[in-house]
Amino acid sequence: MKIAIASGKGGTGKTTLSTNLASFLAETHKVVLTDLDVEEPNSGLFLKSELVYSEDKFKMIPEWNKTDCTLCGNCQDVCNYHAVIKIVDMIMVFPELCHSCFACSELCPTNSLPMIENKMGELKHFKTDSFDFVESRLTIGEEQAVPLIKQTLKFIDSKFNDDFIKIYDAPPGTSCPVIEATKDADFVILITEPTPFGLNDVILAIETMQELKKDFGVVINRYGLGNADIEKYCKENNIPVLAKIPNKRKIAELYSKGELLWDKIPEVKTELEKIVLFLKSNSLLK
C-alpha cells in the first residue's frame, strides 16, 4: 500500500502528518516513510533515528572526449535543452540543464560524448524504534528534483516488499516533482489549511489529482483558523474530509522543537484514528 501526502501550498502540515501518521501506524503495521521533498527534506528533523545506509545518487551527463570529435555539431542540434553547445573548436556541456536523454551521446557519429555519472544528491536509509525512514536530498545548485525522486522510489520498491505501508512525504506545488512523487500512490492525502491561500492551493492540488485519476481525500490542518470555505468546497464536490487537526499554539510549539504530536496531544491521535478508519473502510489498509 502506497500513500502519498501532498499539498498545493507549502507549510500546511505535510511533514507533520507524514511523520505522525507513520509513527502512529507503526504501532500496528510495518511502515516505511520516504521524504520525497528532496529540495527541502524535513521529515528527519522530527524523528529519532539511526543511519543504516547511505549512497550518493547520480544522474548521467555527457562528457566531451575530443580525440575523435570532428566538431560536426550534431550534439548541439539534437539537444533540446541547450545543454550541449559548440563554441569555435570546443564542445561545452552544461550539466544543470541536461535531462539525461542520451540523444547527444548515442547519436554522436564518433562516440565523443560518453555519458558519465554526475552527483545530484544523497539517499539515506534510517531506522527509528518502530519504522524505516528514507530521505533523499538534492545537492544545492542542482535544479531538477524529478530524477532524484525517481531513483528514490526505485530504491524503496527494491528494498521494501508489499507487506510495508509506504508513506511518501511529497514536495509542495502541482508541477513535475509532485506528479513524480504521487503517480505510483494508491491513495493521496491532500493536507491544507482553512485560509484563502489554503483553499486556492488545495483546489489546484485537487485538479492535479483528478487529472492523474487518483483516489484522494483532504485533511484540514489548523482547523478553527480562518473560515469554513474549504469544508464547503469539499462537501459541494463530494471530496472526503478525512480529519481536522485543531489549530493550537501548543501544536505549533511542539512542531517548532521537532517533536511528534500524536503521543502528546490526544486530539491529534483521535484525528489520526479517523484517517486510519477511513483507509480501512476503503480497503486501503488491513
Binding site: 527541502e40 539534437v78 533540446n80 548515442e106 547519436l107 528534483a145 513535475c176 509532485v178 487529472e211
Partner: protein, 291 residues
C-alpha cells in the same frame, strides 16, 4: 531600477503575506511580480484586474501519428523517461512523462513522430486594487519548465518598471531550492528571507541561503512567529550573524495575518498594530540598503 526578491525555502512561513504587505507599502513605486507560479496566492490579497493574458509555450511534447507508425518500437528503446506506453502493441506517448527531448522523433525510421510546442501555462499583466502593475502566472497542471515561466514573469515586470520608471520590482519567489528558485534569484539586487523559529524553518533557511550565496546577492532576514520558540529564534539570529545576513526584524506569532487574509487584505491595511509599524520600518530599511 532595483529588484527585491522574497523567498523562504520552507512554505507557510508568511512569505506571500509579507511580500503583499511590502507591495502595499511600496505603492506606486513598485511593480509586483508573483513568481510562485506553481501555487500563486498573491492575487488573493492584491485582487488584480487582468489587463492582458497570454499563453506560455515552453518545451515540446512528442506526438505519434498512428497512421504512419509501424510500431517498430525504436522510440520505446531510446526513451529514458518511460514516456512511451505500449498498449496491445500500439505505441503511445505518456504526456505526463514526456520531457520533450525529441530523441524518439530523431530515430523514428518513418517520421511518424512530431514534436509540438507545449502550452505550460498562462501569464498575465494586471492592475492591483492599489493601482500597481502586477505580473503573475499560472503554471499548467504537472507542467515542466516552471523556471522558464518564472524568468518570463520577471522579465516582463522589469520591462514595465523601466518603461514606467518605477524604482522597484518586488518579487514573490517560489519555495524550495530547485529551478524556479534559481530563476527567481537570478539578477536580484536584494533577497529577503522569511523564516520561522522551527527546526524545519532553520534547516530550510540554511539550504536556501547556500543557494543565495552562490549568486552573491545581499540578503536580509525576517523571523516570523519569532515568539513561538525563543531558543530557535536565537539560533537563527546566531546563523544570521555568522553569515553576515542583515536581521531585518522579528514578527510575533499573530493570527491577525490570517484574519487579514480572510478579508483579502494585507496586515498593514488592517489597523494600527505593531506588525504594521515593523513592516514599515523593514520597507524603509530595504530601500536604504539598496540605494
Amino acid at each position: 531600477m532595483k529588484e527585491i526578491v522574497v523567498i523562504s525555502g520552507k512554505g507557510g512561513t508568511g512569505k506571500t503575506s509579507i511580500t503583499a504587505s511590502l507591495a502595499v507599502l511600496g505603492g506606486r513605486d513598485v511593480v509586483v511580480a508573483d513568481c510562485d507560479v506553481d501555487a500563486a496566492d498573491m492575487h488573493i490579497l492584491l485582487q488584480p484586474e487582468i489587463a492582458k493574458s497570454e499563453d506560455f509555450f515552453s518545451g515540446e511534447l512528442a506526438v505519434i501519428d498512428q497512421d504512419i507508425c509501424t510500431q517498430c518500437g525504436k522510440c520505446f528503446d531510446v526513451c529514458r523517461f518511460d514516456a512511451i506506453d505500449v498498449n496491445d502493441g500500439i505505441h503511445i506517448v505518456n504526456e505526463l512523462s514526456c520531457e520533450g527531448c525529441g530523441y524518439c522523433a530523431r530515430v523514428c525510421p518513418v517520421d511518424a513522430i512530431t514534436n509540438i510546442p507545449l502550452n505550460v501555462g498562462k501569464w498575465h499583466i494586471s492592475n492591483t486594487r492599489l493601482n500597481q502593475p502586477f505580473v503573475h502566472a499560472k503554471l499548467g497542471i504537472g507542467a515542466d519548465n516552471s523556471g522558464k515561466l518564472v524568468a518570463h514573469v520577471k522579465n516582463i515586470a522589469k520591462e514595465i518598471a523601466e518603461e514606467y520608471e518605477r524604482p522597484y520590482v518586488l518579487v514573490d519567489g517560489s519555495p524550495g531550492v530547485g529551478c524556479p528558485v534559481v530563476s527567481s534569484l537570478s539578477g536580484a539586487h536584494f533577497v529577503v528571507l522569511v523564516t520561522e523559529p522551527t527546526v524545519s524553518g532553520l534547516h530550510d533557511l540554511k539550504r536556501v541561503y547556500e543557494l543565495v550565496n552562490k549568486f552573491h546577492i545581499k540578503a536580509g532576514c525576517i523571523i516570523n512567529k519569532s515568539d513561538l520558540n525563543l531558543e530557535k529564534t536565537n539560533e537563527i539570529i546566531e546563523f544570521l550573524k555568522q553569515e553576515n545576513i542583515i536581521h531585518l526584524a522579528n514578527l510575533p506569532y499573530n493570527e491577525s495575518f490570517t484574519k487579514a487574509m480572510t478579508d483579502c487584505k494585507t496586515i498593514v491595511e488592517v489597523d494600527d498594530n505593531i506588525i504594521k509599524e515593523t513592516l514599515e520600518d523593514i520597507w524603509k530599511e530595504i530601500k536604504q540598503i539598496i540605494k
